[in-house]
């Protein structure tokens, strides 16, 4: 198992280097500095901004030689028409070393965001994690729990009116955009409900730190998130459970005369845990990213809103760091999923 883990980690290195390369390249398709400063900026301001992010240096150590040396960096060596630069002076390797050192700004060496000029990118990211987790963890736990129950019930009562109604509702709900659920949920959950109740139970948007404010600001997004997530999950869990009910061991257990509830909860649920765990694990990276639309609409200063604000304000350092950190987390959770597989299901061998 340890060798498997080591191999997976090794294999994910080229994938990670690749995603950083692709994302950094994509972020340089348009000039980040002129996108941020607009057309009216002077050449000096633009040059200063460029130099502050090292955007004036070559992107990769290899570049086709040109006479007037566009990068202002002396090539280390010259092979025919191709110039080789010192790797650590290129943007790609400099950013990689930043990721490896997890250095996204400190008191001595700031790494400033462009839209919040007094704040470091790392501090911005760290601030946004907690509000996101306050919404995503309850959403994930509640959705998974309720959806598994609905899936189980639906599978146990397969073909009945309740099962069919549930599944039709789920399919209909899936054809409506998530955005609509969020907008309508916000209106009915806050202004309409508060009008009926006579006091403010849920705020329509905004955020304040502190666990005491959780119900006021975070409960409504969690409820909407559960409703939205339910559709996809319940359908999936039902399919899993239905497949499991057809297995021989279930027939055997029923033939033996085991009580129905015991068959469902003790035998079936345990064996259906593998796809369930995969499903839950797949959603873990979204714990960090949060639901972008939800945070945007409820003005919750989490990771999703941070990214959209950064994109709207063309905050290049923040976008670049955000994607790099996120991709790393995503890859790590994927590896973790595979390892968990083996722990849950002894039949899976990680050779």
């Amino acid at each position: 198992m340890w060798s498997y883990l080591a191999r997976r980690l090794l294999y994910s290195i080229p994938v990670y280097l690749g995603i950083i390369l692709i994302m950094m390249g994509a972020l340089r398709i348009r000039d980040p500095v002129s996108a941020y400063l607009g057309k009216n900026a002077t050449a000096e301001t633009a040059a200063l901004k460029k130099a502050s992010m090292g955007l004036d240096r070559p992107f990769l150590p290899i570049a086709v030689e040109s006479k007037d040396d566009p990068f202002g960096v002396e090539p280390l060596a010259q092979v025919g028409r191709v110039g080789l630069y010192a790797p650590m002076k290129t943007q790609y390797f400099e950013f990689l070393s930043r990721i490896v050192r997890l250095d996204f700004g400190s008191a001595e060496k700031p790494y400033r965001s462009w839209q919040f000029e007094s704040e470091d990118v790392g501090a911005k990211l760290a601030d946004a994690v907690w509000p996101t987790l306050k919404i995503t963890i309850p959403t994930l736990v509640l959705t998974a729990g309720i959806a598994i129950l609905v899936g189980l019930l639906s599978a146990a009562m397969r073909g009945s009116a309740i099962d069919r109604t549930l599944m039709v509702l789920v399919v209909l709900g899936m054809s409506i955009s998530v955005v609509v659920f969020i907008v309508l949920g916000q209106v009915f959950g806050s202004s309409w409900l508060n009008g009926k109740l006579g006091f403010e139970l849920f705020a329509s948007n905004g955020y304040e730190p502190g666990i005491g404010n959780w119900v006021r600001y975070c409960a409504l997004p969690v409820i909407i998130g559960v409703v939205v997530g339910m559709g996809y999950d319940a359908r999936f869990y039902r399919a899993v459970m239905v497949e499991e009910t057809g297995r021989d061991y279930i027939t055997t257990a029923i033939a033996k005369g085991a009580p129905r509830s015991k068959v469902i909860f003790a035998h079936m649920l345990k064996n259906a845990m593998i796809p369930v765990i995969t499903r839950v694990m797949i959603t873990i990276p979204f714990l960090i990213t949060g639901s972008i639309v939800m945070e945007y609409q409820f003005r919750i200063p989490g990771m999703g809103k941070l990214l959209i604000d950064a994109i709207i304000n063309k905050d290049f350092p923040l976008i670049q760091t955000f994607t790099a950190v996120l991709a790393g987390l995503f890859i790590l959770t994927n590896i973790l999923t595979d390892v968990l597989y083996a722990l849950v299901d002894p039949r899976v061998r990680l050779a």
């Binding site: 994509a26 348009r30 399919v171 209909l172 054809s175 955005v179 907008v183 959209i308 994927n334």
Partner: protein, 425 residues
């Protein structure tokens, strides 16, 4: 090409698909949408004569928000609309110009070049009459509840005037200002108002229909390009193996190590701000969105078709073709890819839904459609309206999108059942 079509028809799955009544019905709905989208798109080719242009969807068809389906607006909204029209006409009459510019949908004040003396005289008479009626109504604090308290300076208690009758009188006076509508024009006007208007008085029905074109445009462009790229790369990777396979697998595992929406948002940022933001042609304004979606969506078909090709290339007929001495590219294009056509169709249908859904989310976040309406933008704009209880815009956008996505969901389920029965999902 003909060979591919014939081979496709010969499949048993086609018959199975056509026997599924629900799926055929859904296919019919999709065809209706495509026809609607094509009709709207005619506006770009023959502006003014057919289709819908970008200018038309932005024009108000009524001065204030009204509900659709013939449901009457509240008294307050009705009076507000009349007041806006009266004010506008009065300004034009006083200035002595711009009378022929005043129009709401099919309603025009005057036919062009008819700003004659007696006409202006008649209009100013109607304006005076309307203002008088409006002044009577302005005494009420809450027109929706006319027996309630009046504003300061007037006696409290029962209403002195009959509010509904006065409003009807006011509306009659205002309607007389406009040139009478022909039968066809009044049908058109009532169709424009059929799903109500938004806060700026723009026709919700027209905007929702116009968005069909935007959605189909995104869906068709993105899913065709993604399926083609994915098929070619996936089939080539599996068939040639070696470094081609390694490169393709590396590329898609790399791109899929980012959550979908995040990758899309960042790529839209990356591709926009270039030439395409400055072009006036709205067909090209969406290029950043297309590019971002294509970079992401080719992965799905690529994975599936790579797996299928792995299986196909071991089959006897491919080995026979190799033994006869056909070239590798010929075998790939002629014998392997045509046998993955059913997977291409299934993936096309799945990607179509994904493209439409992501277009809505991106437009909602302000990253997608920026010129003209789309369902996402309509939902975004309606967030200010739903607070005031005006659900027409969000309802129309949701309903139009719901029917299309549901139809595609049914079709792709049926396609999967018919052609890929082993698939579990």
């Amino acid at each position: 090409m003909r060979g591919i079509v014939r081979r496709f028809q010969a499949r048993r799955g086609v018959g199975k698909f056509l026997r599924n009544r629900l799926a055929v019905g859904a296919l019919g709905i999709i065809v209706l949408y495509v026809l609607g989208g094509a009709w709207v798109a005619l506006g770009d080719v023959l502006p003014g004569r057919a289709g819908v242009t970008y200018a038309e969807v932005e024009q108000p068809v009524w001065p204030a928000a009204v509900p659709g389906l013939g449901i009457p607006a509240t008294n307050e909204r009705r009076v507000e609309a009349m007041r806006i029209i009266t004010r506008e006409v009065k300004r034009a009459v006083n200035n002595g110009e711009g009378l022929s510019d005043i129009r709401y949908g099919q309603l025009r004040l005057l036919p062009r070049a008819a700003e004659s003396e007696p006409e202006v005289e008649r209009l100013s008479g109607l304006v005076e009459e309307a203002e008088e009626l409006y002044d009577q109504l302005a005494e009420f604090e809450d027109l929706n509840n006319p027996t309630g308290p009046k504003t300061e300076g007037s006696a409290p208690g029962e209403a002195a005037i009959d509010v509904p009758a006065t409003i009807a009188e006011l509306e009659r006076a205002v309607h007389q200002m406009f040139a009478p509508l022909s039968a066809w024009q009044s049908v058109k006007q009532s169709m424009l108002l059929s799903l109500g208007t938004d806060r700026q008085g723009r026709s919700t029905a027209l905007r929702a229909v116009f968005s069909i074109k935007v959605a189909l445009q995104v869906g068709i462009v993105v899913s065709i390009i993604s399926v083609l790229v994915g098929t070619l790369l996936g089939a080539a990777a599996a068939y040639f193996g070696g470094w081609v396979d390694h490169a393709v697998v590396w590329l898609y595992s790399t791109l899929s190590s980012m959550p979908e929406l995040i990758l899309l948002a960042v790529l839209v940022y990356a591709f926009s701000g270039s030439v395409f933001d400055r072009v006036a042609n709205p067909w090209l304004a969406l290029v950043p969105v297309y590019a971002a979606m294509c970079m992401e969506f080719w992965i799905g078909p690529c994975r599936v078709i790579r797996g299928e090709t792995m299986k196909l290339k071991e089959l006897e007929y491919v080995q026979a073709a190799t033994a006869i001495g056909f070239g590798r590219f010929y075998i790939l294009l002629r014998h392997v890819i045509p046998n993955t056509v059913h997977l291409m169709f299934i993936n096309f249908s799945l990607l179509f839904i994904a493209a439409i859904k992501f277009e809505v989310v991106l437009s909602f976040l302000g990253l997608g459609v920026k010129v003209g309406p789309s369902w996402g933008r309509m939902i975004q704009e309606s967030t200010q309206e739903v607070i005031n209880g005006n659900f027409w815009q969000i309802g129309a956008a949701t309903a139009f999108m719901f029917v299309l996505v549901l139809a595609f969901n049914i079709v792709s389920d049926a396609l999967q059942d018919a052609f890929d029965p082993k698939h579990v999902g």
